[in-house]
């Protein structure tokens, strides 16, 4: 069965520090992988996605993610966090044949210290 694990419920980093949010998935085939962000009072916004090809994916707002098949991981990174990055981040797998049918992780809340 498909599943997504985000092991960190809350993370706090200082502004300007680097960030890595972890995501592990379980899926029977090569997955479609996504990271979404939800800022307070907003809907989910797509940061980046991986379907195939280069395993290092660039997204919006300076984020990137790396697909590692051997580790079943798709970790999200940012070299320098800004206070506006404080939000909740969701990793998701898209179903084959209906890639916007997502299996989401439970989310990671990011706090940014000044």
């Amino acid at each position: 069965a498909q599943s997504v694990t985000q092991p960190d419920i809350h993370i706090t980093v200082s502004e300007g520090a680097s960030l890595e949010l972890r995501c592990n998935y379980s899926y029977g085939a090569t997955p479609y992988l996504f990271w979404y962000v939800q800022s307070p009072g907003q809907g989910l916004q797509l940061l980046l996605k991986y379907f195939s090809g280069d395993t290092l994916v660039q997204g919006i707002k300076g984020f990137e993610a790396e697909f590692k098949r051997s580790q079943s991981s798709f970790n999200l990174r940012k070299p320098s966090v800004h206070w506006s990055d404080a939000a909740e981040y969701f990793c998701a797998v898209g179903a084959r044949g209906n890639f916007n049918k997502f299996y989401f992780g439970s989310g990671t809340k990011l706090n940014v210290k000044p």
């Binding site: 997504v4 479609y32 979404y36 009072g41 907003q42 809907g43 989910l44 916004q45 797509l46 379907f51 969701f90 209906n98 890639f99 916007n100 049918k101 997502f102 299996y103 989401f104 992780g105 439970s106 989310g107």
Partner: protein, 115 residues
């Protein structure tokens, strides 16, 4: 261009009452999805419309939930009668018909509280 819009943003109802949530997708988007997040857990798929047809309703929890999309435009999700465990945030998303590069756009969600 307007994004996905959901009404109301918040709803507090008593157990046993009926509530109807509405989603207005982006104009021209054939695909419409409903998701739900209960008590800080993962966001779970409820169902998928293609135009006015239910393509996949495998995530609907029980027959107290009824989703419609008359005319293939906006969609409603009715909960009747509501139970305490129905509390959560209900998200709607829409996307164009097409290939794997079609992005799903989410609304801001409706927070439903059943007391």
């Amino acid at each position: 261009e307007a994004g996905v819009t959901q009404f109301p943003s918040h709803s507090v109802i008593e157990k046993g009452q009926t509530v109807t949530l509405r989603c207005d997708p982006i104009s021209g988007h054939d695909n419409l999805y409903w998701y739900r997040r209960v008590m800080g857990k993962e966001i779970k798929f409820l169902l998928h419309f293609v135009k006015e047809s239910k393509q996949d309703e495998s995530g609907m929890p029980n027959n107290r939930f009824l989703a419609e999309r008359t005319g293939g435009t906006y969609s409603t999700l009715k909960v009747q009668p509501a139970e305490l465990e129905d509390s959560g945030v209900y998200f709607c998303a829409s996307s164009q018909a097409g290939t794997v590069n079609t992005e799903a756009f989410f609304g801001q969600g409706t927070r439903l509280t059943v007391v």
